[in-house]
């Protein structure tokens, strides 16, 4: 049995349609995820529209260097993920494994950087509560959004890294063929996590810089 034959699953007539089916399913899931993050973003927009100055004061305390490094890391990981997907589609096994591995490593680098950033934030007591140092009081709202949004994003990225590592292992052990439709779903999910960060970055790191 060829690698391609092993990749094709019932009831699909060919791999192209099978990949389109997986892509469609993942996009449906992501449409619901858009509304999940959208609820947070519309709340942020409402509170910011009523507390513009407080959000600018609070935003100026976000760690712009860590945020910028993490943006470059995630954008690069989307590039490596796309190369891995194209390599998988072309059945270039070594390149698939290499770029999938780099993608997972970049995801882990993002989380490490985020951890260092959280440590700096906590040193400055930038967590809404009794020791919160900023005023007016609405600055605490900004930091409430910061922790909720970046925390939920980190959970999504952690899930993405776990899936990438599992898929990498299955490819490596030849349990599933690289040319199947698995990479289609993995890649679309990974890019979605990157997309969320592209929106979060200006909301949480660029407010109050000028």
């Amino acid at each position: 049995m060829s690698d391609t034959a092993g990749a094709l699953q019932h009831p699909w007539p060919d791999l192209r349609m099978q990949r389109a089916g997986v892509g469609l399913g993942m996009w449906m899931f992501l449409a619901s995820e858009v509304l999940f993050f959208g609820g947070l973003m519309v709340s942020y927009a409402v509170y910011r529209s009523f507390n513009e100055d407080a959000f600018r004061i609070a935003g100026a305390h976000a760690q712009i260097v860590y945020g910028s490094i993490n943006t470059v890391i995630l954008l690069t990981s989307s590039f490596t993920m796309t190369v891995a997907l194209r390599a998988a589609t072309a059945n270039v096994r070594q390149a698939t494994l290499l770029f999938l591995g780099i993608t997972a490593a970049l995801g882990i680098a993002f989380l490490v950087c985020k951890g260092l950033e959280y440590r700096e934030d906590l040193k400055e007591h930038l967590f809404p509560g009794p020791q919160f140092p900023l005023s007016p009081p609405a600055t605490a709202m900004f930091w409430g959004f910061y922790w909720a949004m970046t925390g939920i994003h980190a959970v999504h990225l952690t899930a993405g890294i776990a899936v990438v590592l599992v898929v990498w292992t299955l490819f490596k052990r030849r349990v599933i063929p690289v040319q199947g439709s698995t990479m289609e779903g993995v890649a679309i999910y990974w890019h979605f996590v990157d997309s969320v960060w592209i929106v979060l970055f200006p909301l949480l790191y660029l407010a109050g810089r000028s």
């Binding site: 449409a31 858009v34 954008l75 590039f79 993920m81 190369v83 270039v92 890019h191 592209i198 200006p202």
Partner: protein, 97 residues
């Protein structure tokens, strides 16, 4: 040999160009945040973010080559988030108390 090279270039050439564009847009967004544009800062930053999302979706997520059904589902997420923002702000922006 030549075909092999062309195959390898196909793997990274398009995504590489999109990656460079995304990095450039990120740099412009970051730099513009330090310009005193007032309310324009947020508009510029979110505008650039929208362009970045479009590049990511079209090239890296390959929506430009997807079947119509996939594009419709992707657009549905965008459609409903627009409805959510529009209905929410139709209330908050029209309050006079």
């Amino acid at each position: 040999m030549t075909n092999g090279r062309q195959d390898r270039r196909y793997l990274w050439l398009g995504p590489g160009a999109a990656w460079l564009i995304l990095l450039m847009l990120f740099a412009v967004s970051l730099g513009s945040a330090y310009l005193p544009l007032g309310a324009g800062n947020l508009a510029v930053n979110l505008g650039i973010a929208a362009v970045m999302l479009a590049v990511l979706a079209a090239v890296l997520m390959d929506l430009r080559n997807s079947v119509a059904l996939v594009r419709i589902v992707a657009a549905a997420g965008l459609f409903w988030i627009i409805i959510m923002f529009a209905l929410t702000f139709s209330d908050f922006l029209t309050r006079h108390y």
